[in-house]
């Protein structure tokens, strides 16, 4: 590679903050906005996506020299779909409550552009180790934002966090927070806050 050397650790870290899939690339917003009505949903969605992005990245990286470039997208989708189905059936069998509350959004991970994006932009051009670290970082970054967003919406919208009452008794939940507008509001503010933090960091 002609670019300057990126250490393995940086490969992992960049997905969490500098190239966070949601905060910076704004990828995978459909599940982000739709399922984050509670922190628990956000966590389940984040972990399922992390599992899928890591496994797909590793396999795409292994097969990167065999797959002809004309059919690469189709191959990526098949590989991703395989892992998504595995995750979906696993949740349905062992965590049926979570599975029913996430509904169709688990199968929809297949078309999450955050995951396809990693295959196209990274795993298909890098070795297995780097692809694994890259996917791991991106997955963690995705999960953290989902839990944060789910947590904010759950606290304001239902007065609970992970199902536990956290607000004072007379607090009236803001129903708007668990509806679609609340998702846009909360996500916008979180992205704004992360940009502000970045600017602060640059000024120093």
């Amino acid at each position: 590679m002609s670019q300057k050397k990126v250490t393995l650790f940086q490969e992992f870290l960049k997905g969490i903050w500098k190239e966070n899939p949601i905060l910076v690339s704004l990828l995978g917003l459909c599940p982000t906005l739709a399922v984050t009505v509670s922190a628990e949903n956000g966590l389940a969605m984040g972990l399922a996506s992390t599992f899928v992005v890591i496994s797909s990245s590793v396999f795409v990286s292994i097969l990167r020299k065999i797959i002809p470039s004309q059919v690469r997208i189709a191959s990526f989708i098949v590989i991703i779909a395989t892992f998504v189905t595995i995750a979906d059936r696993f949740l349905a069998a062992y965590y049926p409550e979570i599975s029913s509350s996430l509904g169709p959004f688990i199968p929809l991970i297949i078309v999450n552009c955050m995951i396809l994006g990693r295959q196209e932009a990274f795993a298909s051009k890098n070795n297995i180790g780097r692809s694994f670290l890259d996917a791991f970082g991106v997955g963690i970054g995705f999960t953290v934002v989902l839990v944060l967003l789910g947590g904010v919406r759950e606290i304001l919208g239902s007065g609970t966090l992970f199902g536990v009452e956290v607000m004072w008794n007379s607090f009236h939940p803001w129903a708007v927070m668990i509806l679609p507008p609340g998702a846009f509001l909360a996500l916008g503010l979180i992205i704004g806050a992360s940009n502000w933090l970045n600017e602060l960091g640059e000024k120093k």
């Binding site: 009505v37 395989t82 595995i86 349905a92 509904g103 239902s158």
Partner: protein, 191 residues
């Protein structure tokens, strides 16, 4: 190797491997999923029927009736009813008295209502009693029909209170009960 041939070959092999892995995984998870589903139904029926020591199953048209008996005397009847909710089918188990005049219990089996609003028909985390919505159906009179009231405590014995912000979901539950209980009653009495 010919380029198109390679494309076909690679994609075919990937899909075959993917298919085999998934069919193996499905054979492994399917029994667990099915067991959970039938357990859930069995458990709900046990909870819904009043104290009984035997259950008789009876097929009436599209309905499966579970008749709870205590020493040969019918104490209650439970069956599954379905209908459209706000976005998708709401499916629930309802228990009625042997003469179909009153509801004894109601449990939601599956629904895909708006998270946080319509889902309050199952669980309302903002209330001290999260399952207040279904519990209020206990002892509600079915005839002439169940009626929902908004923002007020029910005053008559055939009234229930709708969920604020989820009137359509509340209304759907009431409508499904009104249409189906009458139908089952008619079939049961003609039998």
């Amino acid at each position: 190797m010919n380029k198109s041939l390679k494309m076909i070959l690679v994609l075919t092999i990937i899909t075959i491997i993917s298919g085999s892995i998934l069919s193996y995984w499905d054979s492994f998870t399917k029994p667990i999923i099915n067991e959970y589903k039938s357990n859930k139904l069995d458990k709900l029926i046990l909870e819904i029927l009043p104290e009984h020591n035997s259950i008789e199953e009876l097929k009436l048209g599209e309905y499966n009736l579970y008749i709870g008996k205590l020493d040969e005397k019918i104490v209650g009847i439970a069956f599954k009813v379905e209908g459209s909710g706000y976005q998708d089918i709401i499916s629930m188990i309802v228990g009625v008295t042997p003469d179909f005049s009153k509801i004894t219990a109601l449990k939601i089996l599956s629904q895909k209502e708006t998270p946080g609003l319509g889902t309050k028909i199952v669980e309302d985390p903002s209330n001290k009693n999260p399952s207040w919505f279904t519990e209020q159906f206990k002892d509600v009179k079915v005839e002439p029909e169940i009626i929902y009231v908004k923002n007020a405590k029910p005053s008559k014995d055939n009234e229930i209170q709708a969920i604020t912000g989820a009137t359509i979901s509340s209304k759907s539950v009431v409508n499904i009960l009104n249409t189906n209980i009458g139908k089952v009653k008619k079939m049961y009495n003609e039998k």
